[in-house]
Subunit: 157 residues, 2 copies
DNA sequence: CCGATTTAGTTTCATTTGTAACCAATGGCA
DNA sequence: TGCCATTGGTTACAAATGAAACTAAATCGG
């Protein structure tokens, strides 16, 4: 046992235990979950996570511009641009010049994109269901509320 | 309004709302938090997140091998190898051949590494504190328990 | 209407990350 | 003892990501 002189004995190591550190745990949790889900569609459909997010958003809100997609998915515009390019060349998304802005493009799922969406959405939902199976209904509601609050708090960090 | 024939009217889009999808929200949350914290030390100390994790773990548990560090931080061994290489060349970590295995190395913080740890740990703790300030004590306990359960559940996904 | 500024999206280049192949030391075990 | 499968760690190469510069269309001020 190392002498601690007359201090409190609190060293940084006592205060910061990585395994209990919330940011670290959130990162691990998020990675585990994303990887598990992506594993179920990535190779099979040749689809990356950013691409899938765009499909998901366009499925519900067709006609968004790239900028709007970027806002809705919280991806940056470069990521959106690249993913959209791949989706368009795979004929999963069509990009038409926006009616009243020649720079912007109006993005929509093609029938193939729709079909893909229809196939993957259930897989995603099912994964979420399996994850949440570990919690009771009440706990799910708690979790939901807590995550909302943390998301808001994290925005101001 | 589009006709829905005689089905239930539930399309994948109704079921999967990205903004409410837990895996997506966890990903956003984790990114926001990690970026906010990293912003406070990354440039100032020229330290990446993986490097920081290794420092944090070695601070509490000196003498671990690269493999053990990889397990403790849930990083893969390549990431550990690279980060350790940088840390060693920056003289923040020392790597000595392990006593009873010539392949393995025993990793410890140098005095400089210790000093860095002592400076960053409080920053990290403070960030976590600020994030958790959004929650009551009870809620923090709830969150902790929920995250534990989800981490376990996610492992089996 | 014309030039200056802003905005949508793309491209380029450097860095990071992931996967697989690899090297070297170890631990059976015949 | 001497071979072979395993394990700790690194290297090499490809793909993903991020920051900044860039193009082109739109808006604003005069």
């Amino acid at each position: 046992m190392r002498a601690e002189a007359k201090t409190t004995g609190k060293s940084p190591a006592d205060l910061l235990v990585l395994e209990r550190f919330l940011p670290y745990r959130l990162s691990i949790l998020s990675n585990r979950v994303s990887r598990a889900i992506a594993a179920r569609y990535a190779k099979a459909f040749n689809l990356t996570i950013p691409e899938w997010r765009i499909i998901a958003v366009l499925g519900r809100r067709p006609g968004l511009t790239a900028k709007e997609v970027a806002e809705a998915t919280e991806m940056d515009k470069v990521a959106v641009s690249r993913a959209v390019a791949k989706l368009v060349s795979a004929k999963r998304v069509s990009a038409d010049v926006h009616d009243d802005d020649g720079r912007a493009q109006s993005l929509t799922l093609t029938p193939q994109g729709e079909a893909l969406h229809a196939r993957i959405a259930p897989i995603a939902i099912e994964s979420e269901r399996r994850l949440l199976a570990a919690l009771s209904i009440t706990e799910r509601a708690q979790l939901d509320a807590l995550v909302d609050r943390l998301l808001a708090a994290a925005r101001q960090l």
